[in-house]
């Protein structure tokens, strides 16, 4: 079966195995010399592709237990974040860390150690897990936790499925009073202003900035910062207070066909300009969680908007002590080469410590670009600049980096590689990405 990442490129013909129970996963691992697990396929590149065997976890989607009093959820790896939220939010809970889409599975979020708009305050997905269970290379079911086999726990978070097939995870949820977020919006007319607004928004739990990558001259790096907190009950309009955890119904449009990116580009540019000029001073609004956290999920299949050749997403993090120099060079290259999509996302990240987990203290920039020879060259150049400034590339988004980028960007990579060789994971759990990056 032809499989690809969310960027639709590369696409590889893979043999797919679909176990339905943990026992079937164990049997599959024992019987298969080389495989990789795959959840919702939301990694952008080739992290969940293995032509020899790709093990789909989507039927391993059971809730094992949910304690609605203490906010502890134990669930199988194939359960999607959207289903987790549907289950827990009516009881007044919300996942402590969510990425920009609710489509990934729990296993996928473990593999990427996803971060959200609150990393500077709350860390990554793995920081809220009590336990991960996985099937190791020898077919045994292994339990790891911060206090029990912490090395395996830390290697699995961000380990892109290369330490074993995740079976389940137990997570601690956050108490919320409502299904809404109280959002303040600030516009800034240049990069310095934008960066300081992002820093200045830090009393708020969640913050994210959108940058206009085409702006040049004095407007270089202009953008809008959104800062939000879970809305308490009394922040809701009176009409909503009787059902504070109910989410407004959201129509989901589908994109059933491929679309050339040009149409999208101009439309989004116009929409951004409208937002930018309509926000003369900090504006505050109450927004439902779906719209605040997962805006793109409203357009199902939005990855088709780039056409059949697909697209790349470049995401890097540059260390705080780089002082914005690398960021400036990257934005400069993007705006002059004209390859990138008009909007880029910028967030603050706090420190991290796991060997292959992406976040380090600094700023992360994410940007789409259509796949193609010219853009691929630009992409690699962006990876070079990132590494030159002490940063790293996000493996969950990557499809084009090379081993040098990983070696330089992730000091823990050598130790990760050595551990895989010694416990038998190397050779057994491999993906197109792990081969390309020599992990």
């Amino acid at each position: 079966m032809m499989l690809s990442g969310w960027g639709r490129s590369p696409a590889i013909d893979c043999r797919v195995i679909t176990p339905r129970t943990p026992d079937e996963v164990v049997a599959a691992v024992r019987a298969t010399p080389c495989l990789i697990a795959r959840g919702a396929g939301r990694a952008y590149g080739d992290a969940a592709l293995n032509p020899d065997a790709t093990l789909s976890t989507l039927r391993l989607d059971r809730v094992r237990s949910f304690d609605a009093e203490s906010g502890l959820l134990d669930a199988e790896a194939g359960l999607r974040l959207a289903d987790v939220i549907d289950l827990v939010l009516p009881h007044g809970w919300f996942p402590a860390v969510v990425p920009g889409t609710a489509e990934p599975t729990i296993g996928g979020m473990v593999a990427a150690d996803v971060h959200g708009k609150n990393h500077h305050m709350d860390g990554a997905f793995g920081d809220h897990l009590d336990e991960i269970r996985l099937v190791a290379a020898d077919g045994s079911v292994v339990r790891c936790a911060p206090g029990d086999r912490p090395d395996l726990f830390d290697a699995t978070l961000g380990g892109m499925g290369l330490t074993g097939v995740v079976l389940s995870a137990r997570m601690r949820l956050r108490r919320v009073e409502t299904a809404f977020v109280d959002v303040a919006t600030h516009r800034r007319s240049d990069l310095d202003g934008l960066l300081s607004a992002l820093e200045g928004s830090s009393p708020a739990r969640y913050s994210v900035a959108w940058i206009d990558t085409l702006a040049r001259g004095t407007a270089f790096g202009r953008g809008v910062v959104f800062a939000g907190d879970h809305a308490p009950l009394d922040a809701l309009p009176r009409s909503r207070r009787s059902r504070p955890l109910e989410r407004p119904w959201r129509p989901r449009l589908g994109v059933p066909f491929d679309l050339p990116a040009a149409g999208l580009h101009r439309r989004v540019m116009a929409a951004f300009n409208a937002i930018y000029h309509a926000v003369p001073r900090p504006a505050r609004r109450i927004v439902d969680v779906d719209r605040f956290f997962f805006p793109l999920d409203a357009v199902r299949g939005w990855n088709r908007l780039y056409g059949p050749k697909g697209f790349r997403q470049f995401q890097c993090v540059l260390p705080a002590d780089d002082g914005g120099r690398g960021l400036t060079r990257i934005l400069d290259l993007v705006s002059t080469s004209g390859t990138g999509f008009f909007l880029a996302v910028l967030k603050s990240l706090g420190a991290g410590r796991r060997p292959l987990s992406f976040p380090i203290a600094g700023h992360t920039l994410a940007l789409d670009m259509p796949a193609g020879a010219a853009t691929d060259t630009t992409y690699r150049r962006l990876c070079d600049i990132t590494v030159e400034h002490g940063g790293r590339i996000y493996l969950a988004k990557d499809a084009l980096a090379d081993p040098v980028h990983v070696g330089a960007g992730y000091p823990g990579a050598a130790g990760f590689r050595a551990a895989r060789r010694s416990d038998g994971s190397a050779g057994r759990f491999e993906s197109a990405q792990s081969r390309r990056l020599q992990l």
Binding site: T18, R20, R62, V63, S65, L87
Partner: protein, 243 residues
């Protein structure tokens, strides 16, 4: 209002799970029955955790014909609805005696016996719904579905007969005939993608059939005209066809 209960025979199968979740989402209590109690319990925990309804896990083997009456007597509370989702595609070779027996026993004899056992308790109570999940494959025997189709044909006829027998007793018998469904049973089979339904679709159709008391449901609906055509093909032509 008293909570209603549904018993799913074959509760660990893809359609069985989907039926459990569909009913539980509407507040029904669920009783899941299957051969491997550990697997059944895992599904039961999932349904209970998600929908916060009473869920029990029961051991049941559809091939244990002699045990069917005892099983029906042991289920407590007596459910309002019993759904038999048990099925086996099995090997294709009619000369393989063991395989033929397995397919016929699992798709026809076993479900018929256990549904008849529940029919007795329901008739004594004066209420209840028995749902047999058959298949459009039973509408006409063809080489590609061989013994499976034949067994399902028998099961469909049995359900029709039971429906007639129980008329007027307060007990309803519903036949549900799915087309191709994306499940473990059909994994690896080369099926036309546009015609394959998700287990969820079948489950929702079963729920609707129960709520409306519709005696025969074909799901998805496209299979009604498709099978009408298949049934209408004259035999001299049909025997030459290879689908």
């Amino acid at each position: 209002m008293r909570r209603r209960f549904v018993l799913v025979l074959g509760g660990t199968s893809d359609i069985g799970r989907a039926v459990a979740h569909a009913f539980a989402a509407r507040g029904w209590g669920v009783q899941l029955a299957g051969r491997d109690l550990g697997l059944v319990k895992r599904e039961a925990d999932d349904v209970a955790a998600r929908h916060r309804v009473p869920v029990s896990a029961l051991r049941f083997d559809v091939l244990d014909f002699d045990g069917a009456a005892g099983f029906a007597l042991s289920v407590d509370p007596l459910p309002d609805v019993v759904v038999s989702v048990v099925g086996l595609m099995g090997a294709d070779d009619p000369a393989d005696v063991a395989a033929v027996r397995a397919v016929v026993d699992t798709n026809f004899t076993g479900p018929a016996i256990v549904l008849a056992a529940f029919a007795e308790r329901f008739r004594a109570r004066g209420s209840g719904t028995l749902v047999g999940v058959s298949s459009v494959a039973g509408d006409r025997g063809r080489a590609k579905t061989m013994t499976y189709g034949a067994a399902k044909a028998g099961f469909t006829a049995f359900l029709s007969a039971l429906r007639q027998r129980l008329q007027g007793t307060g007990v309803a018998v519903l036949t549900v005939k799915p087309g191709f469904v994306r499940t473990r049973m059909t994994e690896g089979m080369d099926l036309p993608a546009l015609l394959v339904a998700q287990p969820r679709t079948i489950a929702d159709a079963i729920l609707r059939a129960v709520e409306r008391g519709r005696p025969v449901t074909v799901t998805p609906a496209i299979w009604r005209p498709l099978m009408a055509v298949v049934r209408a093909i004259p035999e001299p032509l049909f025997r030459r066809m290879r689908f």
